[in-house]
């Protein structure tokens, strides 16, 4: 196990943990930020897989723009998820 492989596994674990947080959180703003963290960790994974082009595109689109759109949508609706 080199440092590179350990970093890859750590980044993928963080990705899955952030995705689970996005499902689990009740505060929709925090859930949107967790979804942005998924995009950021995915971009790190792409960078570790030697694809910096895809990493820049993923960091711009997946981590920043979709989070901004979610935050704008949450601002126009309500912040808490309704209990069933």
């Amino acid at each position: 196990m080199t440092v590179w492989a350990i970093l890859q596994v750590l980044v993928l674990v963080f990705t899955v943990v952030s995705a689970a947080l996005a499902v689990w959180l009740r505060d929709l703003l925090a859930a949107a930020l967790a979804l942005g963290a998924v995009g950021l960790f995915l971009s790190l994974a792409f960078y570790l897989l030697l694809a910096p082009d895809v990493a820049i595109a993923q960091a711009g689109i997946g981590a920043a723009l979709t989070t901004a759109i979610f935050i704008l949508a949450i601002r126009k609706t309500r912040r808490r998820e309704e209990e069933e």
């Binding site: 910096p52 082009d53 820049i56 711009g60 723009l65 901004a68 704008l72 126009k76």
Partner: protein, 150 residues
């Protein structure tokens, strides 16, 4: 948004715009290109929209629309430059002059005035992506803002 978000946004928006311009400009030398740089610059615009009100960017909407059309038309025009050989052939690579310097094989630092139509196409696609994604986020932000004329 709160004053913390506003202060950080004031610092980060110029950095994002400049980094997007750098990624577009050095697209033929370093990782990145038109699409990636345009996405980074558009995320800076989205940061303005999230942290401040949507009215700040409302006068820019016509400019963004014009930039999108200009980028698309310029991309196709640069593609038509190589129509004597094939569509999308790189007509002015290695011909000398601006953007026409040849490049040696192997690792080298790279120069900005190489690669023929590639930097011009990078700028066209970058402006197009910046204007397209920026106008998408701007339309989202302007939706339902009261007496707006979108």
């Amino acid at each position: 948004m709160s004053v913390v978000v506003r202060t950080i946004a004031r610092m980060l928006v110029p950095v994002g715009l400049v980094f997007g311009a750098y990624v577009i400009m050095h697209g033929h030398l370093t990782p990145g290109g038109g699409f990636q740089g345009g996405a980074v610059a558009a995320s800076a615009l989205a940061l303005i929209l999230v942290s401040f009100s949507a009215k700040e960017l409302k006068p820019v909407k016509g400019l963004l629309s014009a930039l999108e059309s200009t980028g698309g038309v310029a991309f196709v025009v640069f593609a038509f430059l190589g129509i004597g050989f094939t569509f999308f052939a790189n007509a002015i690579a290695g011909m000398g002059g601006l953007f026409g310097q040849p490049v040696d094989y192997g690792p080298n630092p790279g120069y900005l005035n190489t690669s023929g139509t590639l930097p011009l196409m990078n700028w066209a696609v970058g402006l197009k992506v910046l204007a397209g994604l920026g106008s998408v986020v701007l339309l989202f932000a302007l939706f339902g803002e009261g007496e707006d004329d979108r």
